[in-house]
Symmetry: C2
Subunit: 241 residues, 2 copies
Amino acid sequence: MSTLSTKADDIARVLEDEIVGGAIVPGTVLRQEQLSERFDVSRTPVREALRRLAALGLVTFEPNRGVRVRSISPAELREAHLVRAELEALATEVATPRMTAADLVALDEAERRFSELTLELRDQARRSEARDSSLFVEWMQANYAFHDVIYAAAAMPLVERLAKSARRTFIGDRVWSARVELDELYAKNDLQHRAIREAIAAGSAAGARLLAREHVLSSGRLIEMVIESVGGGGRDPGWGS
Amino acid sequence: MSTLSTKADDIARVLEDEIVGGAIVPGTVLRQEQLSERFDVSRTPVREALRRLAALGLVTFEPNRGVRVRSISPAELREAHLVRAELEALATEVATPRMTAADLVALDEAERRFSELTLELRDQARRSEARDSSLFVEWMQANYAFHDVIYAAAAMPLVERLAKSARRTFIGDRVWSARVELDELYAKNDLQHRAIREAIAAGSAAGARLLAREHVLSSGRLIEMVIESVGGGGRDPGWGS
DNA sequence: CGGTCTCCTTTGGGATCCAAAATATGTATT
DNA sequence: AATACATATTTTGGATCCCAAAGGAGACCG
């Protein structure tokens, strides 16, 4: 039976998740030895895994110094959203004439779930309650789920890979503030999903395309505001441990 | 003084060039030992380099079997061009209001060189002479040079990286046929460059955007035809040597 | 001709070892 | 006290040797 995955692959995937999920803060220096200890392997597969992360742009090698988790600047975040907007526009356009009835149902379900969570989120914001970051994470995931239905219908693996890699330029939990000013933006997001859904159902590829583009751009602005309102986050921790 | 690069990095870069340049045909199996022999290093940095290529999608790891250079299907080629079209459209739109006088001059020079080579290429095609593949390669490079001026002005590193990675989904030399049917397509390419140039000079970001998009799409079709007319190329060499 | 059982090659990975590079630490000097 | 210098420590990049297991190539057999 084939092994189907190597340790280097496994380690890379775990670290990838932790980095994009925000469990490892940008700027952190990854020590080879402590990773090999943690995963109970030798340094060899660890280094291979780190090479992969480096090629993915999640991490940078500084020769003879180590590997550190990259932090994304506001400019990079903006650019990533511009890219994602174009790619999602393309995927949506292509997906529209390919959507089956089953796809539409899946889209509806994703939309409904997203709608629910949006309501909860607005509610929580209005009551100024304890900010439950897990709710925000769920909301983001529901958002992604909606878009994933479209990706699946488009059947464009390259676009999907690039767009997902561009959208993971995000910070994860702990970056969510329930400020009321953002309230209407959350709602807007939901309305945009519905508009996209209707354009697709109506078979308007061009319309869906434009809506998808605008949607990603505006949700990019939302995320920028959220991050800004929370403060850029961790600065350069230097080279210590 | 810092080393500035590791052996793994060097090896990865060399192999990358050879793969995208077509010196290593898709389907080839890369043996770790012969690579380590060739670069006069141990297997360790070789494997790290291969991991990087794998993350870049140039190569696939098949556990316990080896690493093989990926070959791109016609479908992938199409998709890559769709992606590149969107990204170049974006870059061109952003670049337009940022173009300085010096940038415009550089664009002109690139255009002139491209124009010359296009003439030579058509000439050669008409005379049905010995097909000089190096001329075709030069032509492609001049083409890229034109677009690179625009990328530089756009100052969008992510877009540039992705688009260049999408455009390198190409086969290199030896895939050029001087069929007369393609003659007008080469000319069309040149005219499109001029149109883009003029739109940028006129400050029309929206116009330049549309032109750039169409241009990439149509040059994608051209490349598809060239490849088709030559025959898909090497098929699966199996796992031998 | 299809199926099984060796033998060989290659991979994935571990263990050690070493030189060079960075960093940290301590000491001397002004 | 602040700076410059010398030394010690840590960590990386890499080599080398090693080994188990996977896959492929016959050889062998029904």
